[in-house]
Symmetry: C2
Subunit: 248 residues, 2 copies
């Protein structure tokens, strides 16, 4: 936890906040902060900041933010379409997406998605929130990714994707594609990118064809068969290397 994530609901008055849950536990046992010491914080969907611990007694911790800093804007926005993975992997995807400042995360049922995965409570608020918060706290970001679940692949890709992601660079991870260095010219600035990540075992041909028809360019991550969560990290990392060169 690299920042303590605060929400407006934690606000007592002005810049003073009170926390009593896993965050209080973290301040007490991991940071081992004392009254008068400072901790790094972030306001959910707001600025980052530095706060002073004012009261550690009892079950609550009171802290006052003494300095706010505007969170930096990403050089380009990334949205992710992800085949619904098993629930254990959903947790990881949520944390990685939040921790790598992904704007939105669209889970979609794919042919190789087990139908039971769609019933996972993790796909619903508020069950998914702790994993998103964990990712934000790790990554020092405050912007909560938008999460949506699309139970039908074809209507989502045919009807919704062209509207939601109009004028967006569209990429789909698949071993059949070229490498991102081939797809991007050195001067290419993506602006906004949507990346589709398939299920374990990959997209079936129908799905890949439909994505390509809808404007997605296949790209390959490397000579590996990666778990879904590692494919997400790999895709975001490679994109950062080829996109918006001056920004990172």
């Amino acid at each position: 936890m690299n920042i303590i994530l605060l929400a407006d609901a934690d606000r007592t008055i002005n810049d003073t906040f009170t926390v009593s849950d896993y965050r209080a536990e973290h301040i007490r046992t991991v940071l081992q902060s004392k009254v008068g010491e400072t901790v790094e914080v972030g306001l959910l969907n707001g600025p980052l900041g530095t706060a002073t611990i004012e009261d550690l007694g009892g079950s609550h911790i009171r802290l006052t933010v003494t300095e706010w800093r505007e969170a930096s804007r990403p050089a380009y926005e990334v949205d992710i379409i992800c085949a619904v993975p098993r629930p254990k992997t959903v947790k990881k995807i949520l944390a990685i997406a939040a921790g790598m400042n992904v704007r939105s995360l669209h889970f979609v049922r794919a042919n190789r998605t087990d139908k039971s995965y769609l019933e996972s409570p993790l796909l619903k608020e508020p069950e998914r929130l702790p994993y998103l918060y964990d990712g934000l706290s790790q990554g020092k970001f405050t912007r909560l990714p938008v999460v949506e679940v699309h139970p039908l692949f074809r209507p989502f890709v045919e009807d919704e994707v062209p509207d939601i992601f109009a004028d967006r660079l569209k990429l789909v991870a698949d071993p059949s594609g070229e490498r991102l260095t081939t797809i991007f010219s050195p001067s290419h600035q993506p602006g906004e990118v949507v990346i589709a990540i398939g299920p374990e075992g990959g997209w079936v041909p129908f799905e890949l064809d439909l994505l390509v028809t809808t404007g997605f360019t296949p790209f390959q991550l490397g000579p590996w068969t990666l778990r879904v969560e590692n494919a997400l990290v790999a895709a975001l990392s490679q994109l950062a290397l080829v996109a918006a060169k001056e920004s990172i």
Copy 2:
């Protein structure tokens, strides 16, 4: 599990193998294979292959490899130096390293390594083997990474690293560095690379200085604060994008 990993100890006679553990469970419950059907296999530190199920009765499964295929050699070799993380993360690092065909993994104690982490049984054989096997089975690789543990940072980096990694391109992940696209020229073929990945919270200045003095070039992964396991995936993915262009 994308291949069933076999070892010489499983061999009954010639190309016939018998398995009874988690691999038999996987063949029965996940693959739901029947007698006469084939499964993809790999021989530990040997070739890949296709095997036919011959007997599913009782607690053991007997299968005969009908085709062996030489595992492809990586276009370049990667060795990893990794600050010893918490035990939960050691498991992930072992699986990722094996699943991304890393040749060797050197855990080293860093300033920000909790001393107790060094006592983890996961750092010892045979406790670490299941995680390495899991990575190989996922990544369809058969080469077991060499794993070593170095309890003292300075003697390891000063005295051992120059010998172990002589004539190797040496990289250290650190936000102070350039991006890999700047470090690599388009025609650069690395041959062999060693990448050092720091602990949560990063290297302390003394450690980074010593690594640089020893010939490591700092490189940055992107505008994120990544968990150790995600930093490893990001580093290997970015290296694949800039290195050995024709090979992946």
